[in-house]
Symmetry: C2
DNA sequence: ACCTGAACACCGTTCAAGT
DNA sequence: ACCTGAACACCGTTCAAGT
């Protein structure tokens, strides 16, 4: 509704693309450019065609369908963003903050892909490395294996899901977003004190859905909860022996 | 790729829809039926037309565009699912479990709408009531207003985001989903013990992304964290006086 | 073998024409 | 005023034809 499409109409005779000049790597590079420039919704076979100066349908020789292309792109972006950046600091809390921040920032950089990145398993080196890194931090926090595997998943799901939700907010039309944000600073203050006593009392303190403090506070709450679990496990061990 | 479309081709002369028989309510009821039967991706103007036995474009007289229709539908579904069901038990932990479960189940019942339900503000009675209910539970947990408003948001974001992510898993093609699930039970067990010692050691305990235990465990971890905050605030109050 | 062009079955949306 | 029909500008995907 807002963005303008770049016209290409003045085509001429269309020069034929040189043989073997197309490959998965070339196509992915073009896809990355488009994704960075126009987001996921701009990434169509048509746009890829003009970006590559090739016919849209030639891509089907190199990728089975759009889903395969998108998954491959997701992994490439992930490796680029934080492929080798996760190095342990020795402090488990700091390490979990590190990986949470990396994922959060990555999702906000590519908001159009966030939902797919959050929900799908790519089973590739970057993903394996993330799990290993988080498991190690959980172990150093003092969790036993059962709790560690559980917490890795719960914590990971939280970080990915909330990051994806924030990203999807960034993708909304400006109109819808400002209306949604306005609601929290205006409409909630006008509710009746009898029917909604708690809202009325705290309406000047209510936070907006995308407030930047929310993510880091959520992480801290999880870290506290993990520490509590470790203490309980320790106490149970002491009791048993 | 999997679902079959119901043919309607044998049209005949097409009977004209009686005058004034269309309205927002009638259209929303049809949309709800389609959503429940075929999910969000089945909800097209074409499908609405055949369901209503009317021309697709007649809907534009009653809704500005598809977005308006979808938002209205979301609110109707929400009111139906848990409009009046949130009654306090007196126990703040139980109350927060109650609202978390209600939202979780609602999102899984309408997986196609989950992402929109999670991210957007409808500023309508059901939403106001949810916030009031959660704020009251936080207050009874012993949180002061600053912490209560923060925790309502962090907890709410967690519940909605994770529920939406689980729902989006349910929406995947069967092929993609089984491949993704297989990864966690097969590929992760084959990683080398030198490079990934923690994964190897715990590979038989790793949980799949959509494991049903994960949601309730995440809620419990938050409740623990809230209780911890309340204790800290209490201690700080005692120190001050 | 690789790239192209035309075609197909869908979308949401607009607008003049019927009743 | 309300509903219809044809048309438009997009999608992803298939397949026979060019080179």
């Amino acid at each position: 509704m807002a963005a303008a499409k770049s016209a290409q109409s003045e085509a001429g005779p269309r020069k034929r693309r040189p043989r073997d000049s197309l490959s998965r790597a070339v196509i992915l590079a073009a896809a990355e450019q488009i994704a960075l420039r126009d987001g996921l919704e701009g990434l169509t076979f048509g746009a890829l065609g003009t970006e590559l100066q090739a016919h849209s349908t030639s891509i089907y020789r190199h990728f089975r369908d759009k889903d395969e292309l998108v998954l491959e792109l997701i992994d490439a972006l992930r490796a680029k963003s934080y492929g080798d950046q996760l190095v342990s600091t020795g402090d488990w809390r700091e390490d979990l903050r590190l990986i949470a921040t990396a994922i959060h920032e990555h999702y906000l950089r590519y908001p159009g892909f966030a939902q797919q990145m959050a929900a799908r398993t790519t089973r590739r080196p970057t993903e394996f490395h993330n799990v290993e890194f988080a498991l190690d931090a959980m172990r150093r926090a003092g969790l036993e294996d059962e709790d560690a595997t559980l917490c890795v998943r719960v914590f990971g799901n939280h970080v990915r899901a909330v990051s994806a939700m924030e990203a999807s907010l960034r993708m909304l039309d400006d109109e819808a977003r400002t209306m949604d944000e306005l609601a929290w600073t205006v409409e909630y203050r006008q509710l009746s004190a009898e029917e909604f006593p708690n809202i009325s009392r705290t309406s000047d303190k209510l936070l907006t859905v995308g407030d930047p403090r929310l993510f880091s506070e959520g992480v801290e709450m999880f870290l506290d909860s993990i520490e509590l679990r470790a203490k309980r496990a320790k106490a149970a061990r002491r009791k048993r022996s």
